[in-house]
Every structure is written in C-alpha cells, then in structure tokens.
C-alpha cells in the first residue's frame, strides 16, 4: 500500500522536525523558523497562484495584517482568540478584494496586488498616526523561538494537507481546467469565479496566520517592518523555483533558496544583492517551470 507508506513517511518527517528544537541551538531553531515560515508562505501562495496562474504580490499585505492583529490585540485577548481573529480579518479582506479583482487578468492582477499591499500599508500607517496616535506597537508574548516554530510547523502541515486534499477533490480538477483555459472551463459548467475566490481566501488566510505567528519574535512592530515588500517577492521566487503547479514544489524551492540566502548574507554581506539578482535571472532562463519539472524532465530523458 504505497499511500500508507507515504503517509507514514510524512508522519515520521513531521515528528522528526517537531523534535528538532531539542537538539539544535537557538540559531538552528531560528533557521527552522525562517524556513518553515517561507515554505508555508510559498505553499499557500501556490495553492491559489499555481493552478490559476494568477501571480499575486499581495502576500505581504496579508502577512502584515496578521502581524498587526497580534500587535493590537495581544494584550487584551487570549492568544488563540487573537489567531482566530487574525485569520478572520485576513479572510474577510481577501474575500472583499477577491470579489472585486479576480476578473482582472495577467499583469493587471500582478500590479493590482502590489498596489494593494502598498494601499494597506499606507492606510494602516495613516490610521495609527491619526486615529490611535501611535505608530510602533510592542508585543510582549512569552514565546521562545521553538514555540513559534512549532506553531509554524503545525500550520505548514495543515497547509500541505489542504493542498493534498484539493489535489484529489473536484475543486482541484476544476482548477486545472481553469488554469488550462478559463473559457473552456466556464463552458464545462465550472463556476470559475467561485472556485478562484475560495482558493484566494484560503491562501490569504494561511498567509495571514504566518504573519500572526511570526510577529511575537520581533517585539516591536511598525508598518515598515511588517509590510516589507521583499516578503512578497521572496515568496514568489521560491514557489516559482520549485514549481507552483505541484504540491511539493514550493517546499523544494523554498528550502534551498532560504539556505542559500543565509549563506550568502553571512559570507558576502556586501554583495548579497548582486548574487540574489543573478540567481533570479538564472532561474528564469534555466528552469522556467521549476526544479521539479526540470528533475522530471531529466528523469524522463534518462528513461528514454
């Protein structure tokens, strides 16, 4: 029974990863936090953007909403409720945005989502400055790195599970059809807009939660810290490197890229940007469909 074998494998992997903080230094845990954070972001991003081919740069808008929700409510509400609230706010914003924008196609959607992230940032800033009269907020939650890591790991597991379930469900089929040709899919009786909307909200909610879970690590929050556009771009490139059409793709892209960034910033602190840029260009030229597709291509080529 191969499926049970894979399930067992996944269970072993998750428990090994969950036990890792007991054996690693704080920096090791820090690496795992960064890695699981980006793997979750990239996987959640690909849930929506992979099959629909809608390239979203709104990642940091939701990430920041999550972080801000925690900053605002961490003193007054119990933590689990804060997370629920963050998910609800992120999901609601996504639903409103999705309803109005999912008919935009191609580059217009890309630009819109980037603009959205900036609009959210400007609005939050203005609100904080003029209505609440503060800008920086403090989060004093008693979390160690490993607590944050375990939450991220749980979220990642759930995200992968959702992705796997979608892959085997009717909605997954519908998505494939939409990705191939939206008009044909619509003619085949698929409610295109609803399918896309559900996926968008789901993906955005998970991203919001990543921001919410990571926020206590920074102690101090302000818009320029949590709405850092780099988050959107890194998520995008990680998912694309691995291949956003496959469940495991984003993970395969995010883990090595994350480690590479870490290595670069430690060994070439003054030349990081140049290497990062060259890497981007290389990825687009050498593996436009992601590492997994490339691997499969090589395997097929070898088999023939």
């Amino acid at each position: 029974m191969p499926t049970y074998a894979s399930l067992a494998l996944v269970a072993v992997a998750v428990s090994t990863l969950a036990a890792a903080p007991f054996y690693l230094s704080d920096y090791g845990v820090g690496l795992l936090i960064g890695m699981s954070g980006y793997v979750t972001l990239a996987t959640a991003w690909a849930l929506f953007s992979g099959p629909t081919r809608y390239v979203s740069l709104a990642t940091v808008a939701f990430f920041g909403i999550g972080a801000y929700t925690v900053a605002v409510f961490s003193e007054t509400l119990p933590y689990p409720l804060v997370l629920l609230l963050a998910a609800a706010i992120g999901g609601t914003v996504a639903a409103v945005v999705g309803l109005s924008t999912l008919r935009l196609a191609g580059v217009y959607f890309v630009i819109f989502t980037f603009g959205l992230a900036e609009l959210v940032r400007q609005t939050v800033t203005w609100w904080e400055v003029n209505i609440t009269g503060t800008l920086g907020r403090y989060i004093f939650l008693p979390f160690e790195g490993r607590h944050i890591y375990w939450q991220l790991l749980a979220l990642l597991t759930v995200t992968m599970l959702i992705g796997w379930l979608i892959g085997r469900s009717r909605i997954g089929l519908a998505l494939k059809a939409i990705g191939d040709d939206e008009a044909v899919a619509a003619h085949a009786g698929i409610d295109v807009t609803r399918t896309k909307l559900v996926l968008f909200v789901l993906s955005a909610t998970i991203i919001t939660l990543v921001g919410a879970i990571q926020a206590p690590r920074w102690t101090y929050i302000e818009p320029s810290i949590v709405f850092n556009p780099t988050v959107s771009f890194l998520t995008l490139i990680m998912a694309l490197l691995g291949g956003p059409m496959r469940l495991w793709g984003p993970m395969v892209g995010a883990v090595p890229l994350f480690l590479l960034f870490e290595w670069l910033s430690a060994n070439f602190p003054n030349h990081f940007s140049i290497f990062l840029g060259l890497l981007f260009i290389l990825i687009v030229f050498v593996m436009p469909n992601g590492v997994l597709a490339k691997l499969e291509g090589i395997r097929k080529g070898a088999a023939q």
Partner: protein, 412 residues
C-alpha cells in the same frame, strides 16, 4: 499513476533530507565549542547594508564600528586584566532591513559564532527586536541608534540593555524651552507649525512635542504627518507659512530634511525658528543648503571647543573618508569606548562587563562619562548651525553649551 506519485514523493523526501543534512553540516547548527586558547576577541554585528535602512546605518552606525575596530587593532588590540593583549576579529552580517533577519543574525552570533560581544543594529525598531535575545544570551546591549522614551522601562525588562540616545521627550522639551524663551523675549510669536514623518521616529517625537508645546502655552497652528515616501514639500510649506507661525518644526528623515531645506530656499520661506529632523546634522547638509544653513536647528550638536570631540572628528574623516554626523555618531563611538574600557578592567566575562558598564566611570570622546540607570543622559538635545559648525545649544546650563541665536537669518 499512483506508483509514479509515490516515486516522486520518495525522491523528494530523499532530496529534502539530503538538504537538511547538508544544512546541518554546512551551518553546523548543532552546538559547537570555541577553542580555549584565545587569539582574538570576536565582535559580531548585524546592520542594514541593503534595503531602506541602509542610508541611516551607513551614516551613523557602521562607520563608527569600523573606525573603532581599526583604532583598537592599530594599537595592538584590547589589553585584558591578565596582561595579554588581543586584537578584535569581526563577524558581520547584513540584516537586509528585515526584522526577522536581524533577529536570526543575533541568534547566530550568540549561539553559532559564539562571539564575545555583539554590537547593536541601526534603528529603534531593530534594537527592540534584538533586545530580548541579547538579554536572554547575557550580552550587554549598547543600544546606540535608538530614540525611545521607554528606556527606563526597557532597562527593567532587559537588565543588560543600555540606551545612549535619550527619548523623544528629552529633545522636544528642550526645544519647547527654547521657544518659550524666544517668545517671552518677544523674538517670535506664539504659533507653531509642525510636521512629522509617519514613521516610528517622527511619531514618537511629535507625540512628545504636543504636550510639551501645549504646556508651554504655544499654539500649534499646523500639525500634519506625511508618508515617508514624500518627495515634494511645496504644498506643505505653503500651508505652514499661511498659518503665520514664526516657528517651523519638522520631525523628518534625511530625504525630507534635505527636500524641505531646498523647497524653503526656493519659496524663500525663512521663519525665525526653522527646526528639522535627522539629516540637518549631517556634514553634507552644508552642500544641500548651498552653505546657507546659518541658524537652522535640529537634534544633537557638539561643543566646538571640546578637543576630544574635535580629535574624534578628524580621525573619522581620516579613516572613513568623510566626517561623522553631529548627533548620533559620537554617542555610538563613546559607547564602544566604554565597552572597550569595561573589558580592559574586568575581562571577557560578559556579566562582569555588563555590571561595569552599569556602574563604572569612563573616559570617552564625550569626556568623563557615567551612565544613569543604564542610560546616557549627558546628551546635547538641540543644536544650531552657527558659522559653519553645528553647535550644541541645549541643555543651556551644561558646560560648553552655545547660546541660541534667534531669529534665524534669511537664506541669503
């Protein structure tokens, strides 16, 4: 189909675990031990070398770290109490202006590189982000480039933290005192036009300024925040001028400080009090204002007759190739000298160094320096450009203070 899926999964698993093993090998993320025979003192820091914070870090923080390391190593290193002398070895990272990166870099410095001491990043937000970690790992945290009114509270929360730049309220109450004196002397009217950048620094200061000005009986005629990306100030200055206020105050960052100066010159707007934020104390400000900066006020300042400071400025110019700014640089350099002297007195034991920093008295470029409740309080709160030097004018009762010259002359 099913078998293929499993094959892919398996290949993936191998791939991921291989990477995991490689990562552990490459980064050595398990506990490691430093060699017992020390040949150097390792000092680590993570600062923003790229991203939006790079401009600030490159002016105030990084050059002083480099200058200090250069000075110490040229002198043969730091002399420890046991008589040995060890040079400094630097471990540096780029935090890419990201809070998550700076947190992880400090974890790395503390638990991976196991450096002897860690120097702080640039900015209030990033100093707060690393403060819990520095306290947890027991490193003295010399928060240099961080302005916060909550320093006393933070010292209680993180007992290894030291704060060197004061709080927003210190700067604004000093400014309010100057305004009150000028008003009572009949030099300026009662109205103030005030703008601030919608970012941590600007909001902190403007929130502190409002109650100070109101308590001083000044009328705030214009009070607006602008987004950090703002590049055009024509309209804002028009509106400020239209209020008839004699005092213009901007809690701004360097790009805005420069743009405000240029626009004020273009519009020939030269109110009796012209007070700007970060950047007015940069050496380049003299070029920006085409040499017409006489009378412009800002945070910081120096005592032009202080020889120690003059020597520091000359050395900075010589080693880094440009002059330091007139506000934060000297404070940060002084904090490094304190660290050095504390190490020379008590050795590399971090708890002892922390204790020494907290209670000891030091000879720095600021003169004889002693912290109060882990905070540096001997700071110049207000400065004014006078004859090509950014002279400290407040607190006025401190030795070496210049006197404020108001009204500011015109831009010509």
């Amino acid at each position: 189909m099913k078998t293929k899926r499993t094959a892919v999964t398996r290949a993936l698993w191998r791939f991921t675990s291989a990477i995991g093993v490689a990562a552990i090998a490459a980064f050595g993320v398990t506990e490691s031990h430093a060699a017992d025979d020390k040949t150097s003192i390792t000092i680590g820091y993570a600062v923003s070398k790229s991203g939006p914070n790079a401009g600030g870090a490159d002016m105030t923080v990084t050059p002083n770290y480099e200058l200090w390391v250069n000075e110490v190593n040229e002198a043969g290193g730091i002399k420890l109490p046991d008589g040995s002398q060890l040079p400094i070895e630097v471990v540096e990272y780029d935090d890419r202006s990201s809070a998550e990166e700076v947190v992880r870099a400090v974890e790395r410095l503390a638990t991976q590189d196991e450096v002897d001491f860690i120097l702080p990043p640039w900015g209030t937000g990033f100093n707060l982000a690393v403060a819990p970690l520095m306290a947890k790992f027991g490193y003295p945290h010399l928060a240099g480039a961080a302005v916060t009114d909550k320093a006393p509270e933070f010292v209680e929360r993180w007992d290894t933290s030291f704060w060197f730049m004061g709080g927003g309220g210190d700067y604004t109450s000093a400014l309010a005192d100057i305004l009150v004196q000028a008003r009572d002397a009949g030099t300026i009217n009662n109205k103030v036009a005030m703008i601030s950048v919608a970012d941590g620094f600007g909001i902190d200061l403007v929130n502190a300024a409002r109650p100070d000005l109101e308590a001083a009986g000044m009328e705030i005629a214009y009070d607006k925040a602008f987004p950090p990306q703002t590049s055009d100030f024509a309209t804002i200055l028009n509106e400020a001028e239209a209020t008839g206020a004699d005092s213009f105050i901007a809690f701004s960052y360097p790009p805005h400080t420069f743009a405000l100066t240029k626009q004020a010159q273009v519009a020939n707007y030269s109110p009796p009090v012209f007070y700007l934020g970060v950047g007015a104390g940069f050496p380049v400000y003299s070029d920006i204002s085409s040499g017409k900066m006489e009378g412009v006020m800002s945070l910081g300042g120096i005592d032009p007759n202080n020889e120690l400071n003059a020597a520091y400025r000359a050395k900075h110019q010589e080693v880094i190739g440009r002059a330091p700014d007139y506000w934060g640089s000297v404070l940060i350099y002084a904090s490094l000298q304190m660290l050095q002297q504390a190490i020379e007195r008590v050795g590399l034991d971090r708890a002892a160094v922390t204790e020494e920093l907290s209670t000891g008295t030091f000879e720095t470029v600021l003169g004889t320096t002693k912290l109060e409740d882990n905070q540096l309080r001997d700071i110049w709160w207000t400065g004014q450009w006078q004859d090509g030097t950014f002279v400290a004018v407040a607190p006025g009762d401190r030795a070496g203070a210049g006197s404020v010259v108001l009204p500011k002359p015109g831009w010509q």
